[in-house]
Assembly symmetry: C3
């Protein structure tokens, strides 16, 4: 069995932002030498998510708009805002998840044509966001 874990270091520049990490993930899968197995893409954060979708600028804005609608940044109804003013980011991160798992077949990540891999920043800007990529297989 082969296992490789690598960490991506990412700086974000806005409160809400989608960062396309597809190419970086695919390079790690290539480096791993795994021909068949899976890859786990995991953000060790409580105010960010990982999602898979199309890299189209309008849609990327739509995703952020939906996140804002769903999580209501700054709302006084969130108790956590009395402590840190980022309850919205915790809620989005918890419910939409901080990881995605994709198959690896014949040395390549299996993904659809419109299925890029994004880190979703919900409480930026941050200098040192991290994404852990673990490839496992043979």
């Amino acid at each position: 069995m082969k296992i490789l874990t690598r960490e991506l270091k990412i700086s974000t520049s806005s409160r809400f932002q989608l960062i396309d990490i597809t190419e970086s993930v695919e390079k790690i899968v290539e480096e791993s030498g795994v021909r068949n197995g899976l890859v786990l893409v995991f953000a060790p954060h409580a105010t960010a998510s990982i999602v898979l979708n199309e890299h189209e600028s309008g849609l990327m804005e739509d995703m952020i708009q939906k996140l804002v609608e769903f999580t209501e940044p700054g709302s006084s109804k969130w108790r956590h805002n009395a402590i840190d003013d980022n309850a919205h980011a915790h809620l989005g991160s918890a419910f939409f998840g901080q990881e995605r798992v994709l198959p690896v077949v014949d040395g390549r990540v299996v993904r659809g044509t419109w299925q890029n891999i994004f880190l979703v920043e919900m409480d930026g800007p941050r200098r040192s966001r991290s994404v852990i990529v673990t490839v496992m297989g043979e």
Copy 2:
């Protein structure tokens, strides 16, 4: 270590539809010969999801109703609709995820009594939806 990947080919007949793929997934796990490990059920699409829940017709309609409420098909507020009129499906797919991972113990998929595996179509009908099933373990 044993690894087996198979692809399910699925035709959908409605714009929104839940297709129960539990039996197909369980057959692939059986075929794999894996006794202990996990199974990844992954849809290589940006307008569909995989979810686990009860196969009860009323609930299946409720799930679709909730998806419609959450994603607002046809809304002019989604920028992506200027391009492709399926922003709702991208949003549902991104946030609710295109994969689920289940344990395999003693050669069987571990799942609750009411926990069937569904492909969620949000932009059908489509002739060639795909689900990739990867079983890994020993």
Copy 3:
């Protein structure tokens, strides 16, 4: 390759409740002897979820409030409520997912400072909730 699966048995005391299972998961990872790989935390239920987030009491109440807003317990619009009066729990469980997967590196679960592991009860109280923890790696 090493694989270990253990089952946590959990009693819940409220209709909605977050139960922190971080320590229990970490003990199973330690017991497994896996140095590098991943851990799958899976609830074999259709009315509960697994999420990762901060163990802060205000935020934990916010998460439950958001779940209630999203799933509308008791609403007559959910067809499943004619059968079992817990459609809300099925909807939350399906869409937010019953599992999370985390990397294991150097014998430890990789997680952020504010990223605890919770079972989310949405249809309690229940005497015998279960969480299946599968550790896989070498």
